[in-house]
């Protein structure tokens, strides 16, 4: 229980002479100073001097102003905030893994290579694709890797293609990635049911016409390198024409990239490789529950078809099997294959966020194939339970079947001038982390709720009750919501000034 109102910046606490770390006795002659004078480090401007207890208290107090998964439901849509088992943390810190060195000879790290190989096999079975790389550090890195594979593939086939198609409901990393990979991005319209539209769509308000897949392909067919589609999409809706979409792209010689951030809705239920996807990433920090760490690290493995395999980042782990003898269990050894002439190279200095891969492997083994599917189904049940309970209380702009997350908006509350932001902030007062808001952009004032399979009925009901209470407050006392949050240590923060006159670090003064 932290009832203090403020924790000063550590720099304000620094007192020269205090130490938080004692040096070991130096057991060799002191270093001769070989540095050119102008390259000698003399002093620091901010690095603080504090005792160990002060630093520990500083961070402990700060931590107490955060909200974590072990406290309650964290319904950030698209972020998949599920239980982070402590076993996974324990396994990742086993010295055999934690102390292993990325530049060590492969013979010394057979355990790591075995883990990478095994996890790749699991992801191949889960995605239904032929090959996997675990090198990308996060989802966006996975997207970039995937799009680079597409580019390499076209280049290898002597095709010049400069366009990537992306539905307007896509996550921002999709267009940003395409651009970073040197592509021009064209939006694809969404149909009324929230999925990719083949037909052009006229905006009822502006009257502007947005091109659908058919006309875009007709117009750009031989320029189209591929399509980036999220499935289920950011509305939590399964792209029920995904096979047709893939076929249309393939027909013009393009490839389909699937953003697999929502794979937690498909594991054990459907496989992208089976419905035509050429390459995709998964966010292990979502579907496989590696902790988000307040922003990272994540892991964004990429799975692809046989046709794209030669272009995968290097090195690629290879398993050699030695039969020991009649009827004996086969012995495996593993090695790195660096000799990959068509490889796009490296997308991480070493082999990706390995520690996260260890956690994901542990998560997979714990669940097993059956447990993974059960998790998918429970996640879908939970999302539909919330949809059912809040139907009519909040507006459901698109009514297609809900998979793992449901998107409401503030249309009903807006009548009382209560908006999505107000609802989100008020949830804080009720002891919940708010859902994702104002995303996807195709829904105005979106409230994107993803409970995940980790939530018990009791916790779902508590959340539903809070949402209902807020809807009631919106009717009876809108201003209360404009003021929210009122019980948190801070009220709403001025983000405009923060951006207009940025203060991005502390300076003496």
């Amino acid at each position: 229980m932290n009832l203090r109102k403020r924790e000063p910046l550590i720099f304000e606490r620094s007192v020269p002479g205090k130490v938080g770390l004692d040096l070991p006795v130096l057991d060799v002659p002191p270093a001769a100073d070989t540095r050119p004078d102008h390259l000698r480090r003399e002093s620091f401007d901010a690095l603080p001097s504090c005792s160990e207890p002060e630093v520990i208290r500083h961070f402990t107090r700060l931590s107490q102003w955060n909200y974590g998964m072990d406290q309650g439901m964290y319904p950030l849509g698209s972020c998949t905030m599920k239980h982070n088992p402590r076993l996974n943390e324990r396994v990742a810190s086993l010295p055999g893994f934690a102390d292993s060195h990325p530049m060590a000879d492969e013979g010394l790290v057979q355990g790591n290579l075995a883990l990478i190989f095994t996890l790749q096999e699991w992801l191949k079975e889960i995605t239904g694709l032929a090959a996997v790389t675990l090198q990308p550090s996060a989802g966006a890195a996975g997207e970039l890797t995937g799009v680079q594979l597409i580019r390499a593939y076209h280049v290898a086939n002597g095709r010049k293609r400069k366009v990537i198609l992306i539905p307007d409901s896509a996550h921002g990393t999709n267009p940003a990635t395409a651009a970073m990979a040197g592509y021009e991005v064209l939006d694809v319209a969404s149909a009324a049911d929230g999925t990719v539209s083949f037909e052009d769509v006229t905006d009822p308000v502006s009257g502007k016409v947005k091109q659908g897949l058919t006309s875009l392909l007709a117009e750009h067919h031989d320029e189209v390198a591929g399509l980036m589609v999220t499935n289920p999409n950011t509305l939590g809706i399964f792209e029920h024409r995904i096979d047709a979409i893939c076929k249309a792209i393939h027909d013009v010689g393009g490839l389909v990239y699937m953003d697999g951030a929502n794979m937690n809705a498909l594991v054990g239920v459907a496989r992208p490789g089976d419905f035509g996807v050429d390459v995709m990433h998964m966010n292990l920090h979502k579907t496989m529950s590696t902790p988000h760490g307040g922003g990272g690290p994540g892991a964004g493995p990429v799975a692809c078809t046989k046709a794209l395999e030669p272009f995968l980042p290097r090195p690629v782990v290879v398993r050699d099997t030695v039969k020991v003898g009649e009827g004996e269990v086969p012995q495996h050894t593993y090695r790195w294959d660096w000799d990959r002439p068509k490889s796009i190279g490296k997308v991480h200095t070493f082999f990706g966020n390995f520690g996260m891969l260890v956690r994901a492997m542990t998560y997979c083994l714990s669940h097993g194939g059956d447990g993974l599917r059960d998790a998918t189904l429970r996640a879908i049940v939970n999302a539909n339970y919330i949809r059912r309970q809040l139907l009519g209380v909040y507006n459901l702009p698109i009514e297609s079947p809900t998979m793992h997350e449901v998107v409401f908006n503030d249309a009903i509350q807006a009548r009382n001038d209560v908006h999505t932001l107000d609802i989100a902030k008020r949830l804080i007062d009720y002891g919940f982390h708010p859902p994702t808001i104002y995303f996807p952009m195709v829904v105005s004032g979106a409230l994107m709720i993803e409970p995940t399979e980790s939530e018990s009925r009791e916790e779902l009901d508590a959340f539903v009750d809070a949402m209902k209470a807020i809807a009631k407050e919106a009717e009876e006392n809108p201003d209360l919501l404009h003021q929210a949050p009122v019980t948190a240590p801070l009220r709403r923060l001025d983000e405009t000034t923060a951006a207009r006159k940025p203060v991005l670090r502390w300076t003496k003064g």
């Binding site: 910046l9 550590i10 770390l21 004692d22 060799v28 270093a31 070989t34 002093s43 401007d45 690095l47 402990t60 700060l62 931590s63 955060n66 998964m69 088992p85 086993l94 893994f97 934690a98 292993s100 060195h101 010394l108 355990g111 790591n112 996060a138 966006a140 267009p175 096979d243 239920v269 988000h292 760490g293 922003g295 990272g296 190279g345 997308v347 991480h348 200095t349 070493f350 082999f351 520690g355 714990s366 097993g368 059956d370 059960d374 429970r378 339970y385 079947p401 809900t402 998979m403 804080i428 982390h433 995303f439 240590p489 709403r492 923060l493 001025d494 983000e495 951006a499 991005l504 502390w506």
Partner: protein
């Protein structure tokens, strides 16, 4: 399954409330033709005990070493127990990116303090909440330099940069036909000023040099940046061993316009190369071109100081295909490690540890050179790593050391032309004199056997 809150009674209640018979009924959105009609071909749910044992067995397939002299981009340093304990708090490690500031002040204030320290160490004015790692930070830095430098399309890269950083750079630039990367040669283990001068022209956006470089050598940033600036190019300092910031002047104070690299040395294990901590610091003038999350200070409705994610107009979720980068998740928790590690070390501890690193490396080099089959390659000043040429049987020597529980330095032969049969030795505060004497003893034995 212990992680799932399922129980017949509870499940039934949920399904009834929704109005369906079974969970499968909720898959109506997935056309039957697209469904997986069989169970996944994977093992079944396992107990914690069984999983723990299986993973322990797997980890045991990695060979462990009492003594390690291998660095080359991943460094074993001491980390106070307080750091692991702190990052294990659910308030830190299970939280998401701080989108809702009122309920995330812990993470936001930490990042603000972390940004302050990165700026302090690099001598620059603006940084972000982290990037993936050293190699990808180089890509972001180089692409940012090109944006900042407008029509300039060439980037010069010193061969003194970590070979893997250089490969990541090549991969990152491959998709941009309009841009080119050009290597700059080494001379006596540091970037060759002559070759650099020769390659600098008004198409060069930036020059990347290691500080210290891959060989552990201290590059003279001042001289190199004067050359670069002379031709209007930016100097980007790349640091793969951030512990060196306790020994060497901040790059921003000796001519660097940007500083990027790897900061895993502050409280992170070598963990097979990740998760690590990429950083990038730039000048205030360039702040709106920086990639990734940035935290800024502001006030709340009642005027109290608080922190928020800011300058978001640069980012993918706002700017989409015109964003400064596609990065979304970063290495947040590793930045927390670094922040706490630095706050515990403080100026005395940090400079003291860095000095011990230099002392151990110098002692190691001196002792090695006393042996018959080890020769100096070049004599540039170094921090905690240095290359030496081995005239004996490399394979036998390495095998002998490993048998004795010693992980030797990196065999440079496959990694750097001109360094055939050289070993890149690293020593840190973790290497005791006793370990070094033991190493020398084993090497002497090998020598006598061979010779």
């Amino acid at each position: 399954m212990r992680y799932l809150p399922t129980a017949d009674a509870e499940d039934r209640a949920l399904l009834e409330a929704i109005g369906v018979r079974s969970a499968e009924d909720l898959l109506s959105g997935v056309p039957d033709r697209l469904r997986l009609k069989r169970p996944l071909d994977l093992p079944p749910t396992a107990s914690e005990l069984e999983v723990l044992r299986a993973m322990e067995r797997m980890s045991a397939l990695n060979k462990r070493f009492r003594t390690r002299f291998l660095g080359a981009g991943a460094y074993a340093h001491f980390c106070p127990s307080a750091v692991d304990a702190q990052i294990s708090r659910q308030e830190w490690f299970t939280a998401y990116t701080p989108y809702q500031p009122e309920i995330s002040q812990g993470t936001l204030q930490h990042i603000f303090e972390y940004q302050t320290l990165v700026c302090d160490l690099t001598g620059l004015e603006v940084t972000n909440a982290s990037l993936y790692d050293g190699g990808t930070a180089c890509v972001e830095a180089a692409l940012m330099a090109v944006r900042v430098q407008r029509k300039r399309t060439k980037v010069l890269v010193s061969e003194g940069l970590h070979p893997l950083y250089r490969e990541v750079l090549r991969s990152g630039f491959a998709s941009h036909e309009e841009l080119s990367l050009v290597d700059v040669k080494l001379a006596d283990g540091v970037t060759d000023p002559v070759d650099l001068a020769a390659k600098l022209d008004d198409t060069v956006a930036a020059v990347l040099v290691g500080y210290p470089n891959f060989l552990g050598h201290v590059e003279d940033l001042k001289a190199l940046s004067d050359l670069a600036h002379g031709k209007g190019a930016l100097l980007i300092s790349v640091t793969q061993e951030a512990m060196a910031f306790g020994w060497l002047e901040a790059p921003g104070k000796v001519g660097a316009d940007m500083a990027c690299g790897e900061a895993m040395s502050f409280g992170t294990m070598t963990s097979f190369g990740g998760p690590f901590l990429g950083f990038l610091a730039v000048k205030d003038a360039h702040k709106r071109e920086i990639p990734g999350r940035v935290v800024g200070q502001t006030t709340d409705l009642e005027g109290r100081t608080g922190y928020v994610l800011t300058l978001t107009a640069r980012e993918q979720h706002i700017k989409r295909d015109r964003a400064t980068s596609n990065i979304c998740s970063n290495q947040g928790l590793i930045a927390l490690r670094a922040n706490m590690w630095l706050q515990l070390a403080g100026p005395e501890g940090f400079k003291g540890l860095a000095a011990q690193n230099a002392a151990k490396a110098q002692y190691l080099r001196a002792r090695l050179l006393e042996l018959p089959d080890w020769e100096a390659v070049d004599d540039a000043p170094f921090f905690n790593e240095f290359p030496l040429r081995f005239t004996g049987d490399m394979k036998a020597m390495r095998a002998a050391l490993m048998d004795e529980g010693i992980l030797p330095g990196l065999d440079l032969t496959p990694h750097l032309p001109g360094y055939k049969n050289c070993v890149l030795w690293c020593a840190t505060e973790l290497n005791t004199r006793h370990q070094i004497e033991h190493l020398i003893e084993v090497l002497a034995r090998v020598a006598s056997v061979v010779g």
